[in-house]
């Protein structure tokens, strides 16, 4: 938890800065630790109940610890039709975890997401925000290798 106060403080004067601050915190810690939410409430002069509300409102934020590299699989219709279920199965098999979980080594987290706007090349996954298009189960080991 080193440096979280400094990260948040650097957004103190940005309008709506709490969201920017949360992104920066997540980049560092992969999730929003309780201490960071309490600090953000203080810095942005919000009740903790509201700072927590913001932290849980956006699906991009997590208030639970999770793996460093966040893999998101689109669960919207176009990806579903194109075989997202097989991609999910392959990811779960390869990482040895279920959707919503993180690997023991803290390297990967698996999450569902809504459409990421890349429907021209389904199924789509993103890792730390970077999209991978036309994903098939066969491509999974190679994609994951980039992050190991």
């Amino acid at each position: 938890m080193k440096g979280y106060k400094e990260i948040i403080a650097s957004y103190a004067n940005v309008p709506g800065g709490i969201i920017e601050a949360y992104h920066a915190i997540q980049k560092e810690f992969s999730y929003l630790p309780e201490e960071a939410i309490l600090e953000a409430a203080k810095v942005f002069n919000l009740p903790v109940s509201e700072a927590y509300g913001v932290a849980t409102f956006y699906s991009m934020f997590s208030v639970k610890p999770r793996g460093k590299n966040v893999i998101r699989i689109c669960e919207s219709a176009p990806c579903h039709v194109a075989g997202a279920a097989e991609v999910v199965a392959a990811l779960e098999r390869e990482l040895g975890i279920c959707m919503g979980e993180s690997t023991q080594d803290g390297l990967f987290a698996l999450e569902f997401t809504e459409c990421v706007g890349q429907c021209q090349a389904t199924p789509v996954i993103t890792i730390n925000g970077k999209p991978y298009l036309n994903v098939s189960p066969a491509k999974i080991p190679e994609i994951l290798a980039e992050y190991k």
């Binding site: 009740p47 903790v48 109940s49 927590y52 509300g53 849980t56 956006y58």
Partner: protein, 576 residues
């Protein structure tokens, strides 16, 4: 102000510009159903049950949020509207527990009423309850999140009316839930247990901790002598629990009813309200004379005490050290009264009947055992007594009255008005004026401190010393005065604060209170009762005089400090 003309269900209506369809419909007696709408809160428009057809709009519009426009044509009861409302209700019911029969809000639930009004005869959608655990972490309030319909009225009451911010929303859309701060238990949140969220809740998702069974067990125990005290605000509102109008149940009939349900002795918190005035009035005079910490704050309202300990721990020295009337009573009933009656205090089971949920917490505070026993064993709210009355089948129109028992049952009009915002201040001024000036106060009515205005102020000339006072009710109003004190800019000497809007008559334990207008009706009834009291100044209460003569000897004396005064502790809450 400009007026707007429109037609609702074929009826022409003219309303001020800026009105909503809901307000306009009310003008012509058309009831539009609502759930998330609350007359004293901002518009949320999230439940959609108030939808109407507006000519020229493809989609149905929410009447609570849609402003009227010139020439607008609205249909509030077309088949299309009815069908949409039914579907909305069916969707809400699809994850609402089917527990109406065992719910505390059975027959007093807005969702149940609408299900009845709209003839919901079957569950149209797959029934799936979220399966969330109840939150029983506080001694005062129980949350049952499965019953929550996400209207967010509780959040508004907690954050806007009270500025406590104990509740918020977690997640979004289908996964959204009302949760205490940081998703923790209510006890870990800044909740002050005022219970205003209970009044705001249209269903049974938030209730008091019901303790009727504990009372019945005490009545059944032959070794227990069950003694009660009734808070000033209770009588006015208890009538509403048994189908009468506020204030309509005579005090003696209420007392008789309490004897019927099993109380061995019926005494009155009003007695210690008068006593509070003597102790607190003298404390104020002492602070004024000796340069003590000013302004002094009243300390009767336990929700307010919790708020001060939570948000203003640096200002605790401003709080009067007087215990609340409930706790003064508790400490005396097992000492002075027991002695006077020749009763073994160990056998006394002291029950207080309160308009308040925070009183349950206050009675459980570890320091509240100065009598050598737990000073107050059980706190029942007005609502719980209402249930006991209904359970007993008493017909209050036929019940013969009964008077209070001796030594702690007499009271004055000054104690009666403790139940309304400004009442403690007015009662204190009636006494302080006479103590300081030595002259009789001709007009006892300090009307400047009465009424529903959020912050009221007044000045009193006490033999050349002008004392400035202020009164706040509702904690967001209290916050304004507190911030002034913290900034060193408070012009006041004495400040009365009640946690609940309207004071105790709007307390979290009162009959479900749906608007401030309902609070005003109770306030009106309280001043009628005061007017009808023969004695209207606390220091003229004959039983209080006996208490000082025989037991306490002097205000702020040794015995008083031992039994009637207390100290406060910062709450050090993390999730503020």
């Amino acid at each position: 102000m400009g007026m707007v003309n429109l037609t609702i269900d074929g009826i022409k209506v003219s309303v001020p510009k800026g009105s909503t369809i809901l307000q306009a419909a009310k003008e012509v007696g058309i009831k539009i159903p609502t759930l998330c709408y609350h007359p004293d809160q901002s518009v949320k428009a999230n439940c959609r049950v108030c939808v109407c057809e507006v000519e020229g709009n493809r989609l149905l519009q929410a009447a609570c949020s849609m402003p009227v426009t010139e020439g607008m044509v609205v249909k509030t009861r077309s088949p299309k509207v009815i069908e949409a409302r039914k579907t909305i209700l069916e969707l809400i019911l699809s994850n609402h527990p089917q527990e109406c029969l065992t719910c505390a809000r059975n027959q007093n639930c807005e969702l149940q009423e609408l299900a009845e009004e709209y003839s919901i005869r079957e569950y149209a959608f797959e029934h799936k309850v979220r399966g969330l655990a109840k939150d029983t972490s506080t001694p005062s309030i129980v949350r049952d999140p499965d019953k929550c319909i996400l209207c967010r009225r509780c959040i508004d009451a907690c954050s806007v009316t009270q500025s406590v911010y104990a509740l918020g929303i977690e997640n979004r859309g289908h996964h959204a839930m009302v949760v205490p701060s940081m998703g923790k238990d209510l006890i870990d949140s800044p909740c002050v247990m005022c219970g205003q969220c209970i009044h705001a809740c249209p269903v049974g998702a938030i209730t008091e901790r019901e303790q009727i069974d504990e009372f019945l067990a005490a009545v059944a125990d032959p070794d227990k002598i069950v003694v009660t005290q009734i808070a000033p605000a209770v009588r006015l509102a208890i009538a509403e629990e048994v189908g009468m109008k506020p204030g309509e149940m005579p005090m003696d009939v209420f007392v008789a009813g309490l004897r019927q349900i099993g109380f061995d002795y019926v005494l009155h918190t009003n007695f210690t309200a008068d006593l509070t005035i003597i102790e607190e009035g003298n404390e104020l005079l002492k602070r004024l004379k000796e340069g003590g910490v000013l302004p002094m704050f009243t300390s009767c309202s336990p929700g307010w005490i919790n708020f001060c300990e939570t948000y203003y721990p640096d200002l605790l020295d401003h709080l009067s050290t007087c215990k609340s009337p409930q706790q003064m009573f508790g400490a005396l009933v097992k000492t002075y009264w027991a002695e006077k009656m020749g009763i073994d205090p160990a056998k006394i089971y002291s029950v207080s009947i309160m308009p308040c949920t925070a009183k349950k917490y206050e009675a459980s505070r570890p320091e509240m055992q100065d009598s050598g026993y737990r000073d107050v064993d059980l706190v029942l709210t007005t609502r719980e007594i209402g249930r006991l009355f209904r359970m007993s089948g008493i017909d209050f129109t036929k019940l013969e009255g009964s008077s209070f028992d001796s030594w702690m049952g007499k009271y004055t009009g000054a104690a009666v008005i403790f139940g309304a915002t400004g009442g403690v201040m007015e009662a204190a001024l009636r006494t302080v004026y006479e103590v300081v000036t030595g002259q009789e106060l001709k007009d006892v009515n300090f009307t400047a401190v009465r009424g529903m205005e959020g912050i009221k102020e007044a000045e009193v000339d006490l033999n050349g010393t002008v004392v400035k006072v202020a009164v706040a009710h509702g904690l967001s109003n209290a916050r304004k005065l507190m911030d002034q004190v913290r900034a060193g800019e408070s012009p006041y000497h004495f400040i009365e604060i009640m946690a609940c809007p309207g004071g105790c008559i709007g307390g979290g334990g009162q009959p479900i209170t749906k608007s401030n207008a309902q609070r005003q009706v109770r306030i009106d009834a309280i001043y009628v009762e005061d007017e009808n009291c023969e004695i209207r100044k606390s220091h003229e209460n004959p039983e209080v005089k006996i208490l000082y003569d025989e037991f306490l000897h002097e205000p702020l004396g040794h015995k008083s400090h031992e039994l009637l005064h207390t100290h406060y502790h910062p709450k050090n809450k993390k999730y503020l």
